[in-house]
Amino acid sequence: MSNTISRRDWLLSDAPQTRRQARLGAIYQGWLTFRSNKLAMVGLIILVLLIGMAIFAPLLAPQSPYAQDLGARLQPPSAAHWLGTDGLGRDIMSRLIHGSRITLFIVGTVALIAPIIGLFIGTVAGFAGGWVDQVLMRVTDIFLAFPKLILALAFVAALGPSIGNAVLALALTAWPPYARLARAETLTIRHADFIAAARLQGAGRLRLLIRHIWPLCVSSLIVRVALDMAGIILSAAGLGFLGLGAQPPMPEWGAMISDGRTYILDFWWVAAMPGLAIFTVSIAFNLLGDGLRDVLDPKGDKS
């Protein structure tokens, strides 16, 4: 008992003894802040469940997501099919469960690629200044001026429709805001004393960029990514809806809604179930993002 208390005290100590203690302490404090936000916790729990669902999909799904049964098509939710069956008689719940893998794959990959491109372009632009900045920011503007879904459509149409290309297209259209953000951050810290100090110690530009500037931009980017996840899911679903995302018979949620719209007037569940799934997950990401912002970016606006 005393042991736990002391560990907590150790973490929350005002005078940390070691660097490690300080860092862990900061993380712990962040966790406490985050935990006090009930909605954010709800978001986190939903996402943990989602990840669990994706990992254990084959065990959880009552049936194969691909098994067709034309005789039992468009069945309403029942004991045999909790969420009903689709136009080819496939079990919607099994498809949703397996589809969570695709959703996570999309979100994860885009959330990894886009901020990195943005971070690189933004910090280089902000740090280098001059014509490099001008050129990079013009390019960013061009991508910003483009209607996003149409740009993504164009990429997918050019590369060929597949889940991988959809992810790539989404990433390629998602980076400009990150570049802007990273550039703005860079501009504010470029002339900070510690940068000047590091420079005096003989640090090269690249080293300054990688060791000193990037780490400082990361936390605001993470917040931004968490908040954007929902948008990424919705955009991916939009591509799937237009038939340019995951290819059949993959149970991608957007494509499932697209399938279901044929039947929407009489068999509402075919479109409604994946719609609800998308809604649930994106709301979870939104809640999580709000919570993370409170922790990582306390100075940012608390809307």
């Binding site: 503007d141 061009i142 149409i150 050019a158 931004r224 948008g231 509402w268 940012g300």
Partner: protein, 362 residues
């Protein structure tokens, strides 16, 4: 996908109160109008170049769209040359730019008509929808945001938060389908897909291309009511996404103002709370708020592809998408020019606004 359009299924404009947008504005403000214009036209040119390249690498054959399935090789070759595709890419691109400068956008291969005519037809449809959507966003979103900020943590604030959250999280195509099913299919409260009842088709002379305006000009109330019943559902849908964004931004701007010193001073002086909020704080957020609204409007103008598809709305977004998928690059380029010009105009507009309204920039 932050600056997701209503099309992407997410919020118009930036999906969240976005500090970088304001940084960008500060950056903009510092520049001269001429510089802004120059860089914006460079952006426009770059936009065209990107679109042009996309069009050329796309594995969709525009010639086939023109000559159709049964064409012989000779007919195909003839059309290929007639479309000028045998010229080097650079020649094609600059030829195109030259034509655009003289107002010639070429001919669309999927409609067989000049792209300029097509755009004159589809843009007003999108403009009408986006305008109404933004108006709904403003008239609901701004008061909601202000009240939410004034009564922080109160019921209205919670409601506003939920409204915004749901707005950020709902796939627009799903909401659109369900809305159409319920309000048109089952309840019959609103008009169906399309811009007007089919029997009104072509009844009102087209002046502006916006049916609501045209029917008013013609004094045709029946047509106006019909058009209104058709636009209200998709506009509300876009308006919902718009208001989710606008209300959040309003709230955060207001919070910033309400914690400022002058507000505290005013309160200390005994000024009434509503006077503090509306006369002081709100006046100060008017400028950034206008920019937010312009951004949101801009993203709706870019065309809400999915909404347009679901509501059979013959607008710019579905025009560009259709062009893209059939290799109709003149249509895509023309549409992109319009989108780019909207972007430029709205940017200039917010720049000017800063200059005119913000005393510090003088």
């Amino acid at each position: 996908m932050t600056e997701n359009t209503g099309a992407g299924g997410n919020t118009p404009g930036a999906s969240r109160p976005d500090p970088s947008a304001r940084n960008a504005l500060r950056r903009r403000r510092a520049r001269s109008i001429a510089g802004t214009l120059l860089s914006l036209s460079l952006t426009l040119l770059g936009l065209l170049l990107v679109t042009f390249i996309i069009g050329r690498v796309m594995p969709i054959d525009p010639v086939l769209k023109v000559v159709g399935d049964r064409a012989t090789q000779a007919q195909y070759d003839a059309a290929y040359v007639a479309m000028g595709l045998d010229r080097p890419l650079v020649v094609q691109f600059f030829g195109y730019i030259g034509d655009v400068l003289t107002g010639d956008f070429g001919r669309s291969i999927s409609t067989g008509q000049p792209v300029a005519d097509d755009i004159k037809r589809v843009f007003p449809a999108t403009f009408e929808l986006a305008t109404l959507g933004t108006l709904i966003g403003i008239f609901v979103g701004v008061p909601l945001g202000v009240i939410a900020a004034a009564r922080k943590g109160g019921i209205i604030d919670q409601v506003a938060r939920v409204v915004a959250l749901v707005g950020y999280s709902m796939p627009i195509f799903w909401l659109g389908l369900m809305g159409l099913l319920i309000f048109y299919g089952i309840l019959g409260w609103v008009g169906g897909p399309g811009r007007q009842g089919i029997i009104y088709d072509g009844m009102v002379p087209s002046v502006t291309g916006m049916i609501l305006v045209d029917s008013l000009l013609a004094g045709d109330w029946a047509a106006f009511r019909d058009a209104f019943s058709h636009i209200i559902l998709p506009a509300s849908l876009l308006g919902y996404y718009s208001l989710a964004y606008i209300s959040r931004m309003t709230r955060s701007f207001m919070l910033e103002q309400l914690s400022a010193e002058y507000v505290i001073t005013a309160r200390v002086k005994g000024m009434s709370e509503s006077a503090v909020i509306w006369r002081h704080a709100f006046r100060n957020i008017a400028i950034p708020l206008t920019t937010v609204i312009a951004l949101s409007f801009g993203s709706l103008l870019e065309g809400s592809v999915l909404t347009e598809i679901i509501f059979s709305w013959p607008g710019l977004g579905s025009y560009i998408t259709r062009g893209l998928l059939s290799g109709d690059m003149n249509a895509v380029l023309g549409g992109t020019v319009v989108v780019g010009v909207c972007f430029v105009v709205l940017n200039l507009f917010s720049d000017l606004l800063y200059r005119v309204l913000d005393p510090r920039s003088k």
